[in-house]
Symmetry: C2
Subunit: 565 residues, 2 copies
């Protein structure tokens, strides 16, 4: 039997009125603003109104180091949330909003999958309530005000060559990566090099996700450093008088979006910062609401546990004050087979044929990555649970290999079939998570605020990535010294490296040892509140492929969407 | 007594639930999708469901040739709509959505004014339901797919120098007018000249406003000509396989947005195409719904009657099949004083002091413009009504001058005080409009589809602008011949000229004679369905001023917006 595709499942789902979904969270209708039939904004007043309700157990979902196809963190987060309903617990799921650029690029939609997805998937993948567009608008208003400032006399003595603020659009458009703006005549601005990133890579997106209140949002916007003046002093959005208007543009976007899964489990969709140069985590505001809206709050962190979960612990939790109770590590057979070093998986291409043959040994050969990511969770004092995201092409012997590794590490593990089976396919996982949460956890961040930036980088590199140390380029050294001098030394670090390896080299699988992390340069998201060292090529504006998903997306004769999947 | 500002009035307005507003239009709750508390989308099924209800009288509001400050068409449209309620008639108002760029530039918000405005004004001016952003996204996806096509081998043999499709953003950013894209390495695209227009200037916006159904939207998107191949043949969005995805991006944006005025009169806000290079009229879809949703449907056309109203008659009505019953011409004392040629009004600056002195003679000296715009309405077989939009600084003698001119032209006229007084300040106008609609009207377009393009331009120039003829540049002549050859000769023309004069010279006031219209070049919006000759400098991307409105817009300590006005 073939399973219907995601769009078909989404269409056939029986949606509850969102007011009813919210009611189950203790969120009254007065806190809800419907946005179409698919989603509703939740007022920030919900935080105070729910404060006296019991605190949910807080569960973060990340994965082993994934292949370019991903390990299935979103489906697992959704499946787990749904599974709680099958064992008499109420769950809330908090996820990032997918970016529209990739929807029309390679992905064709992202909302979980099968019977563990957020619905309606069209709404989730197309604009939703416009938050991404609001980030674009706020970001580009600041860009326009910077160039306008230069054009109108440059009273702040901004060094045009030291402007770091680019522009953003939510589209995959490689031709916008590097551009020259301000050409034409005298009335058309100041010629200089610039470029566009995808909106998910905007500091405004990272900042929105880390804000804890409207006033906090306003202050973070004001702290954005857009570049440096001729004396090398940072110039802020506040000095450009842009932060107030940016905040007004973001007023609605600061409110999380309530949706539901195919099984009517509540989902808070909010923000979608990049997982390499930014935190890759959904918003703090959504979690501040969700933490009092059920028995369990399940949230997803981008990429592997060395990336999204590390930022969850050391940046998101540091800002929110919330502490996690357990961490799920998603793993697939194909992930560990890839970590054996025998196979190469490429995005947008089918898996190598030989990878589909039964081979529990290949799975075992890739164990080192899973073991290291388990250790990475435990570094933060949190109990991991391994979720084996099963595929129809897997063999029971291969699942057993993973269960054996988990047993050796004394970690709970469960085989999950939530994609074809919905929540009941993740009941074992849910039971394991309940136990892990009930265990004694002593959450700890990796480093103190006061640790010098260079030592923070070294701490993450050694303890999480397994590096022998770090190598700073002369530029990176100078930049770190500048940031310390400018008073940014107390910020946490968000190390931008490949998500395809624990190391900075995407071809190194497993748990590489005997290597050092090269730091090419170091950038600052002062408004968002982190410093991000660049280790390797970070692409902040994707391109389209030879046959982008956009070519297949259309309406049919009945006006229904086709080609989103 | 000082009047509260627009934002204060908007906040103090007593809003009705939109379901109740819709109910008064015969629109059931099943046709309504709330988007926040401020607006609701109306399903396109409303067109068919309302079809059997009586047809409203259809009234278009335009103005004399305005000063850069505008004549107050939006306030008058709102005031007139509200006034119908005071004389026992039900009205629906159809307006354009304001662009966010200018909101943060010079204007600080646009929603009518005083007690004749659309509320809540913050929602109207900030994103609303995201339609503008959807236009941006659809437009830029096509741009990305064009450059991707070049990058991936250029199978359609597109001539990179003959690409006319630019990019758009809803921001005032002069530095984006002329740019070079595709710089960097081989993986970063194809270097070529490009640029951004403001979203309101997008052909997608014009096309959305002229679409009569979802299928029509899909077809128009496919017909978009993005440039020419190496043989000079037009290349379309359909050939690039982009039109389907663009249509999917625009699915929600095709639905009009229901809002209300301070007096709870229903307002359909939909689309906001530019008034110079495009039609400057709100959407056909909104009018197709509104025409069966009340006794009177009041819609606004951008700029003077030579611009917006001419396009309303010859482009919008040609596409919609709807025929108007009356036309309101808004005029202010300052407009006619400016047409005397004695004063110069500059955007963003206070009026010249001497213009505020009582001078009915100055008003009379500017009569020629009002007379010509009255004639322009009558050219289309429609009865005009003069609406004198009164200002506190006006004198009764000055209003009398305008009433005298109207009497000489045998045109109904009324002094209106809807800004301070709301609907009751426009009751006389409403009564005059009722009479005008009950008169025998024989609507006629200016020209047939089959007339050659050059003769269409000449017809508008002579009969509407009062030119002695047109002068085509060699480029324009060649382009017109190309368009005829490519099968675009049956399209109407949308002449892009200054809105500050009946002529193409903004400094020429009154009703200039003895001049010829110079056509520099001719462009084609084939998807939208019109050809637009360029007569003078058309700015399609505004800049910011030395002290943009954005600098004053912020939130206060209570999280309330300040500085929008």
């Amino acid at each position: 039997m073939t399973m219907p595709n995601n769009l078909e499942i989404s269409r056939s789902a029986s949606l509850k009125p969102l007011a009813e979904v919210a009611d189950g969270m203790g969120i009254g209708a007065h806190l809800l603003e419907p946005y179409g039939r698919a989603a509703a904004k939740v007022s920030l007043e919900a935080i105070a109104e729910l404060a006296d309700r019991p605190r949910a157990k807080y569960v973060v979902v990340s994965s082993v180091t994934p292949t370019p196809l991903g390990a299935g963190k979103t489906t697992t987060s959704v499946g787990l949330g749904q599974a709680f309903g099958h064992i008499g617990k109420r769950a809330v799921i908090a996820l990032r909003q997918p970016s529209m650029g990739p929807t029309f690029g390679i992905k064709g939609g992202a909302a979980g999958g099968g019977y563990s997805q957020v619905v309606p998937m069209e709404a989730l993948n197309l604009h939703l309530t416009g938050d991404m567009h609001a980030v674009t608008a706020a970001h580009n208003l600041l860009a326009a005000m910077i160039d306008n400032h230069l054009h109108k006399g440059n009273a702040l003595s901004i060094n045009p060559h030291a402007i770091t603020w680019r522009r953003v659009l939510d589209v995959n458009d490689r031709d916008l990566r590097q551009i020259v703006t301000g050409l034409g005549g005298k009335a058309d601005g100041t010629p200089r090099q610039g470029g566009f990133d995808i909106t998910a890579a905007s500091e405004v997106m990272a900042l929105l996700a880390l804000s804890t209140s409207l006033q906090d949002l306003r202050e973070r916007l004001g702290r954005i450093v857009i570049g440096y003046d001729v004396d090398g002093k940072p110039v802020t959005a506040e000095q450009l008088k842009a932060a107030g208007a940016m905040c007004v543009i973001l007023l609605e976007a600061l409110k999380p979006n309530l949706m539901q899964t195919v099984e009517n489990t509540p989902v808070l969709i909010h923000c979608g910062p990049f997982g390499n140069i930014a935190t890759g985590n959904s918003s703090i505001i959504a979690d501040l609401i969700g933490i009092h809206a059920g028995d369990y709050l399940v949230t997803e962190a981008g990429f592997g546990a060395d990336m999204g979960a590390e930022r969850f612990f050391n940046i998101k939790c540091r800002n929110s004050g919330l502490t996690p109770d357990a961490a799920v590590l998603v793993v697939t057979v194909r992930d560990l087979k890839t970590h054996s070093g025998k196979y190469r998986v490429v995005a947008g291409k089918p898996l190598p044929e030989e990878m589909l043959a039964e081979s529990p040994d290949d799975v075992t050969a890739g164990a080192s990555n899973l073991r290291k990511q388990i250790a990475n969770i435990r570094e933060h004092g949190i109990e991991p649970v391994v979720a084996i995201n099963a595929f129809p092409s897997d063999f029971a012997s291969e699942h057993q290999s993973i269960l054996d590794i988990a047993a050796e590490e004394s970690v709970r593990a469960a085989v999950c079939t939530h994609v074809p089976d919905g929540g009941k396919g993740a009941i074992d996982l849910a039971r394991a998570v309940v136990e892990a949460c009930d265990q004694q956890n002593t959450f700890t961040t990796l480093y103190e605020d006061a640790l010098p930036l260079v030592e923070k980088i070294e701490t993450v590199a050694r303890r999480i990535y397994g590096a022998d140390g770090i190598d700073l380029s002369p530029l990176a050294e100078r930049q770190l010294a500048d940031y310390e001098r400018n008073g940014f030394g107390n910020l946490p670090v968000c190390i931008a490296k490949t998500h395809l390896s624990l190391s900075s080299d995407p071809s190194k699988k497993g748990a590489p040892t005997g290597w050092r992390l090269p730091v090419r340069e170091v950038r600052a998201s002062v408004g968002a509140g982190f410093i991000y060292p660049i280790c390797g090529d970070m692409r902040t504006m994707p391109g389209l492929s030879s046959a982008p998903a956009a070519e297949r997306i259309d309406i049919d004769d009945n006006g229904e969407i086709v080609g989103l999947a």
